[in-house]
Symmetry: C2
Subunit: 479 residues, 2 copies
């Protein structure tokens, strides 16, 4: 039968700072094998026989990056639909908006499979058979959750109590939902055998879920419908996108789908499974993904150790020397460093809170910023100059733009650039340069089939990113 | 009376990696007050009434940096003499070479005060009175050591046993030298009251020390004299320098002055003192220099803490988040990071050993390299391009040079540059640029009174620092 996967890709993932940030959220985090959590979710979502479209709900700001990540692993060229939120509003709003999309494009009887983009699942066969069982029940009007048979008394997960006696084709009625328990309670739940971890994945038909939204949170549904109806539609690169309209969306209640529907509806079932599910919630859980060496260490990057045990060290560029330490998480990024006790990685969120409070950019953005046309990385910044490495993807171009306050020196170091500079159009090869005076309209184009890499030295009295006037843009960014 | 301070400024200071490195050794390390250990030593060395010259023994490679550091605090414009070693050869060779210098310029009766450049002394009055007592005895033919009354059973220091009964004007005969002891031995030594820490500072006349060198290590003295006689003399910027000749210097035995002379000579005395001396040997001892906050933390730079105690965190540029950790040393530099247990900071040297073995540059050089004309910092490096920030001091100029394999794009971002580019001479202001093709002779000059800051983008198939042909140089670097 047809399944429409709906991937919910959001959340700043503050516990995974400094790698995960607002502008580069948790689902984009690359694991040791080079794939991001989002890509793994996408591949899992498209395992089924009949998937007419994958719908992704994400923030407007991360659209291009999210789309590129999906396309990278979309080998069967399955059509992609993007529902873009102007800001985060918890899972109920995301699911209701996605339901509007699926209803419009696939009809009321379509079965949605809701998958958070930041989970990891080891046993894909078990996952598939659980989804198939759930989809069959969903088509019959059930709201199906996925319950994971617990392997430990986890206090970080919610639990689902299910009716072990009544069940059909692997689908059981839910007795009740249990909030994240204390350790002794969790131990009792796990020992009892009738409680499962609540995975946060769901399966239901559009008709069923809209009926329940209408019943339990009619205002939320109205707000989502209004936002959807007033949204801006665009189509590019074999995917279509809808930007939810902000004024309506602002009225969406900040509530999870669990609170809004699951804990109230009497249509809720659960499929118990051993699919090897985990919620990548902290550096501790990331560090657990790979086997340690004989000293209990897990090292990614250039690290030298002396008397070090049970540490997770991840460094992109720099050499890390560690001496006489145990049980640490060390995560090094170009502009921020985390050193944490492995047993306290849940508290990393407090650092992000402090950064935010101090107005520090590193809670939000990385030194490398992603744009629809490629990336730029700030190499050095001072009062009067800023140096960027700009990478433009093959065939991509920046907007036709102008800056009031800064001039730019461009030096091509790899690939070919076509440059519109005032009235001139020139082509630059590696080791060639040009100068864009303040006030000149200009545009940077990569006409080639390999990445264009360019060093930009900006000079001026004001170097903020907001000093930009866009005259034309391939990505709809002209206001 | 006249005193000639001889500052021994050497050693890679491997236990203070990543701040201290071969090309930026421990004496150059800046403390919290902005002064380097070398500068503090220089100021201390010039407290005396009659100091006709300060002699500094250091490596040829660090000459300019060492000289600039001294000049910065040389308020009385005391003449400076530099004895430059082609490579390190322990303290006996350094002292014997310095003795040759002092003999030549100040005569056999001159009194030398030998001070390692990486010590810290809190009580300068006690220091002065100890030196005055020592100098008087030195003039009478004694070899005087400085013994520090121990405040703890340190196992990292050698001890001097002195004759507590016999002593004149604060100068006592030495009974014996004791190697770095085990803890129980150290405790007994400290309890006994007749043992002092061996500070590694000395005072003697040229005549006396040369006589002892001649007696105990005549070959070493011959090698130093030969190296001195064949050395190259230069004078610039109100200081004179002698580069010891390498072929002779190679024959200098690698032995400390303690082994070579102190433990053997019967002319050795000691001045006991409470001058508040410490040997800045490790990050632990550096961290002890400033009082901690209420949680026992000492923070330099941008750090955010959650549940952190007894940590020393030093970061130049990046934000550091620390969570749930205790008793750590975290030292962050642009290209290398150290995370160490505070109780294991002696072991940091093992990291440097590994780096050296792996051929990793970060044991030796920093991202910012010091040159006689200023500094350059590598901002980004790849196969085909390299970006540097170049800072040229007022009035300084680089050599007239040429590169076979790389072209250079120069963009002035602050100050004024005069540029010799092939046959052209041009002047560049901020936001102006020029291009130096491979094979062109060129020179960069700062004619102004403020620093010139320039961004250089190098392009080429080979970007090694050794692709340079020098035609003329203000600093004698033309081969």
């Amino acid at each position: 039968m047809q399944i429409i996967p709906v991937i919910i890709s959001g959340g700043a993932g503050t516990r995974l700072w400094p790698v995960s940030r607002e502008a580069f959220p948790k689902p984009l985090l690359k694991l040791a094998d080079g794939e991001s959590l989002l890509q793994k979710t996408f591949k899992r979502a498209t395992l089924f026989e009949d998937v007419p479209e994958v719908v992704v709900v994400t923030n407007r700001e991360t659209f291009f990056l999210t789309r590129d990540e999906c396309q990278e692993v979309n080998e069967d060229r399955i059509p992609l639909g993007f529902v873009l939120e102007p800001f985060g509003r918890n899972t109920a709003g995301a699911v209701a908006s996605a339901a509007c999309w699926v209803k419009q494009h696939h009809g009321e009887d379509a079965v949605m499979l809701v998958l958070p983009a930041d989970h990891l699942i080891e046993d894909l066969e078990q996952f598939q058979s659980a989804v198939n069982a759930a989809a069959a029940a969903a088509a019959e009007g059930r709201i199906v959750t996925f319950g994971i048979r617990p392997t430990a008394p986890e206090t970080g997960y919610g639990y689902i109590e299910f009716d072990t006696k009544r069940g059909l084709d692997g689908v059981h009625p839910v007795v009740r939902f249990v909030e994240k328990p204390k350790l002794d309670v969790a131990e009792a739940l796990v020992a009892g055998g009738s409680h499962l971890w609540n995975s946060g994945m769901f399966c239901f038909s559009v008709k069923t879920i809209l009926k329940e939204f209408n019943h339990f949170t009619p205002d939320l549904l109205r707000a989502c419908e209004g936002s959807f109806a007033a949204g801006a539609v665009s189509t590019a690169d074999c995917c279509r996108a809808l930007e939810l309209e902000a004024a309506h969306f602002k009225r969406v209640t900040d509530i999870s789908i669990d609170y809004a529907i699951m804990e109230k509806s009497d249509r809720v079932s659960v499929v118990p499974s051993n699919m090897g599910w985990s919620d990548i919630g902290s550096w501790h859980s990331i560090s657990e993904l790979t086997p340690p060496d004989a000293q209990g260490n897990r090292i990614y990057g250039d690290a030298l150790l002396h008397g070090v045990s049970n540490c997770y060290i991840k460094s992109d560029d720099r050499v890390v020397g560690a001496v006489g330490v145990d049980n640490l998480i060390i995560v090094d990024t170009p502009d921020a460093l985390l050193v944490a006790n492995r047993d306290c990685t849940q508290d990393v969120r407090h650092i992000v809170g402090q950064l935010k409070q101090n107005g520090h950019d590193s809670y939000k953005i990385h030194k490398t910023a992603h744009r629809p046309w490629g990336t730029y990385t700030v190499l050095e910044e001072s009062d009067r100059f800023k140096i960027k490495r700009i990478v433009v993807k093959p065939g991509a171009q920046l907007s036709l733009q102008m800056h009031h306050h800064r001039s730019e020196h461009w030096i091509v170091v790899s690939g070919t650039a076509n440059v519109v500079n005032g009235e001139q159009i020139i082509s630059l090869q590696p080791n060639q340069s040009t100068y864009i005076p303040a006030g000149h309209k200009h545009r940077l184009i990569n006409p080639g089939v390999m990445d264009l890499v360019l060093i930009e030295v900006q000079c001026g009295e004001y170097l903020g990113e907001d000093d930009i006037v866009r005259f034309a843009d391939s990505y709809g960014r002209v206001v």
